[in-house]
């Protein structure tokens, strides 16, 4: 077992600090909603299609409601009104709402209002029930195939840009031993304030996250899982301006994991803070409901900041991400907290430093299936060295019993992985796991060694940062560039115009269910 290094009480105190840090954010969250959240509600009601020019119906309707200035009552409410007007289908609902000048839709009598809400709640319960049954089907397949293999789960990415090529590559990876397939998104999808529609074949640096692409890939992996008699997990990104909607689509299509971070969009995509905090909350509620494991993005911090100097920011952020997650109903087993093997390999003692950090993470979050990323930033174009370097991350992953391990690619510094790159990575990881599993039980870490010393130092600095966030506020800390060396302010960034205050009669039956209030 890693550690002790530090006292249990110190960890509890850090956790408490994080809980206090996220409190003020929730005051904001519970009073607001966003266009993306409202579109998610509509998607729940089956509004998954797209209109002309491929614009999603959910966008058409929400944009209409927003420009009419009535969105603060909640899209669900207007959806109900559209039904009352006789809408036969989602498209029909959009058209009816769109056709109508909003002021034409005056208030209803309290009784009608009450009935409408009850009907819509019933429809929401049915929709959520359907979701649940899909999730159950996923879980049943997993169980049928013998449950999950022992951790770390070997995670590889596919990123051809074309969903059909992705399927080929994903199947090949599964055959070579992958446990989790991640379909990387096309560059800048984070900035799209909608979810693209349909199967896609042209992405850059990845493939668009669409509900249809999710379906195609999950179907292929179900088939592959059955053939291999081993359940293969699928993950994608619930991140960016459409994070909540993607969580819904992913849950519906039975994905197993999602990249989902409370602050990544703010820091790395310059998405507005208020927007992000709101959307991440709803997306996480969906993940909690659908038994999806989230993967947080602290590893990104140490691609922009120096991994040695900023190690404590990873730990501090993990506590914060954990608190956001717990407050959204996620359980520890769903928290794939992110970190990585990123210290400059030209430094001395890097294996000791990486072991220290990985052990510290496990010490602080013993029940979370932490997500361990391979070296990326310091990867260079010597594929042989790159491979050797990745193997050390494999060693640390199995040693410290990470939950999920992203396998490093020997061509990391060149291109998104080729089929052969994944095979090479999987073969090495399979060997490492077999060779080294249980090594942690062979040794007692000396409390007076470099590993323990470094762990205490990093933890100490993390606590200082948490204190700063508690005292000055998370917003202020982000403003000072504390995370990933990136500075953002509360009203900057993209998507703030999609945030609005809920009216007192705001109606969101999906959230009611997700929050356990219905």
């Amino acid at each position: 077992m890693p550690g002790p290094f530090i006292q249990d009480e110190q960890i509890a105190a850090a956790r408490k600090a994080a809980f206090e840090i996220t409190q003020p954010v929730f005051d904001h969250i519970h009073r607001h909603s966003s266009v993306s959240v409202e579109r998610t509600v509509l998607r729940m009601f089956g509004m998954a299609g797209a209109g002309q020019l491929g614009i999603p119906l959910a966008n058409l309707m929400v944009d209409k409601l927003q420009s009419a200035g009535v969105l603060h009552k909640g899209a669900a409410y207007w959806y109900g009104r559209a039904l009352q007007l006789g809408a036969q289908s989602p498209l029909d609902a959009v058209e009816r709402i769109a056709a109508l000048p909003a002021d034409k839709l005056g208030p209803l009598s309290p009784e009608m209002e009450g009935n409408l809400r009850e009907e819509i709640r019933a429809e929401a319960r049915a929709a959520m029930g359907e979701l649940k049954s899909r999730v159950d089907a996923r879980n049943a397949l997993r169980a049928e195939l013998g449950g999950m293999p022992p951790a770390p789960h070997k995670y590889v990415i596919v990123a051809t840009g074309n969903i059909y090529d992705d399927v080929d590559q994903a199947r090949a990876a599964a055959q070579a031993g992958a446990d989790v397939i991640a379909v990387i998104r096309s560059t800048a999808q984070s900035l799209l304030d909608y979810v693209p529609h349909g199967a896609t074949t042209e992405g850059y640096g990845g493939t668009y996250a669409t509900q249809e692409n999710f379906r195609i890939m999950r179907e292929a992996l179900d088939e592959e899982s059955r053939r291999l008699k081993r359940y293969i997990q699928l993950t994608n990104y619930s991140s960016g301006l459409a994070m909540a909607e993607i969580a819904w689509a992913a849950a519906y299509e039975r994905l197993d994991m999602l990249l989902n971070d409370a602050m990544y969009g703010i820091l790395f995509r310059d998405i507005n803070m208020r927007r992000t905090f709101l959307d991440q909350y709803v997306s996480r509620r969906i993940c909690a409901y659908a038994g999806i494991i989230i993967n947080t993005g602290e590893d990104n911090y140490i691609t922009t900041a120096d991994a040695y100097d900023a190690a404590h920011t990873v730990i501090a952020s993990q506590f914060i991400n954990e608190s956001f997650a717990h407050r959204a109903g996620l359980k520890d087993w769903q928290l794939g907290l992110g970190h990585s093997y990123e210290i400059d390999p030209h430094r001395p003692d890097t294996l000791l430093l990486e072991l220290s950090q990985a052990m510290l993470v496990r010490r602080c979050f013993p029940d979370a299936p932490c997500k361990y990323m391979p070296p990326t930033k310091h990867k260079e174009t010597d594929i042989f060295f790159s491979h050797a370097y990745d193997v050390m991350a494999d060693l640390v992953a199995i040693w410290t019993r990470q939950g999920i391990q992203l396998l490093g690619m020997m061509t990391e510094a060149m291109h998104t992985p080729l089929l052969a790159d994944r095979y090479v990575a999987l073969k090495a990881a399979n060997y490492m796991y077999k060779a080294a599993r249980g090594i942690d039980e062979e040794f007692v870490v000396r409390e007076d060694g470099k590993i323990a010393h470094r762990a205490r130092e990093v933890f100490g600095r993390a606590v200082e940062l948490l204190d700063e966030c508690r005292n000055d506020g998370l917003v202020a800390a982000i403003g000072r560039g504390r995370f990933g060396d990136v500075k953002r302010n509360e009203t900057g960034g993209k998507g703030l115009d999609g945030v609005f205050e809920r009216s007192p009669d705001y109606f969101n039956p999906m959230l009611e269910i997700l929050e356990g209030k219905a």
Partner: protein, 261 residues
């Protein structure tokens, strides 16, 4: 230049000029002896000799990875590969600042960003930010540079407009994502915009990124290109010399140490 003697070189594995190369590739067929024969024929078609298909790995049910060692008969005349003669040495931090003060007589203004949908800032930050790269200070640190770093995801037009507003001497564009040549497409779009704005051929236009080299940048319409491992001081030296040449204060085509090639 005087007639040169030829210097024929070829790959070296075990003994000089043995021409040995290593190769690997995947074929979309199951791992069988037949697949191995296909791999061999493929290599022979590529003109390789003494082909040894040493390794054959079942990468997946219908994909086989091959590891090959073989000899190539290709040669290159190394003497015929020209590189410009360096006549001006590379200046250090203090020397360059003093040189700007003396020869340009004002601060050199540069604007940089990672444009298009690319969010990779680490590269442009390495060139522009105080901290710099690999112990080499970034342009913000030079008292005789005025450096503006607009970050990432910046539309080409915005970068150009901001630079023009400050009458910039140079614009630095970074491009990191290159899948299916998206960096070339975006770079061409940048050059179009620069032409439209009338600064092409006037303001120095620099392109950089891991898959960029000088040749590519010039083909795309930039003045210079910088690839992996670029140090800010190299960029600083280039900008100053190129600027002086534009200003007519230095002979056109003066070659200096560290210039992009």
């Amino acid at each position: 230049m005087a007639a040169q003697t030829r210097q024929i070189i070829r790959p070296y594995g075990d003994r000089r000029d043995d021409g040995i190369i290593q190769m690997s590739f995947t074929l979309p067929v199951p791992c069988t002896e037949r697949a191995k024969e296909a791999a061999l024929q493929l290599c022979q078609q590529m003109g390789l000799k003494d082909v040894k298909v040493h390794g054959m790995e079942r990468a997946a049910e219908n994909y086989t990875l091959f590891i090959v060692y073989a000899r190539t008969e290709a040669t290159v005349d190394y003497a015929a590969i020209k590189i410009p003669e360096v006549v001006v040495h590379k200046m250090g931090f203090d020397e360059l600042n003093a040189f700007i003060e003396k020869n340009v007589g004002r601060k050199v203004v540069v604007f940089g960003a990672c444009t298009g949908t690319d969010t990779h800032t680490v590269g442009i930050d390495a060139i522009l930010n105080m901290k710099g790269f690999a112990g080499d200070y970034g342009l913000e640190r030079y008292p005789w540079f005025e450096a503006h770093n607009l970050g990432s995801q910046v539309p080409n037009e915005d970068l150009i407009a901001r630079a023009m507003a400050r009458n910039a001497d140079a614009i630095l564009v970074s491009q990191v994502v290159t899948q299916r040549d998206v960096h070339k497409d975006n770079s061409r779009a940048f050059i179009e915009a620069a032409k439209k704005a009338g600064i092409h051929g006037k303001t120095l236009l620099l392109l950089g990124g891991p898959r960029v080299d000088h040749k590519l940048a010039c083909e795309l319409g930039f003045d210079a290109g910088f690839g992996p491992g670029t140090k800010p001081s190299g960029v600083a030296n280039y900008v100053v010399h190129a600027l002086l040449q534009r200003m007519g204060k230095e002979k056109q085509g003066t070659h200096f140490e560290g210039e992009p090639t």
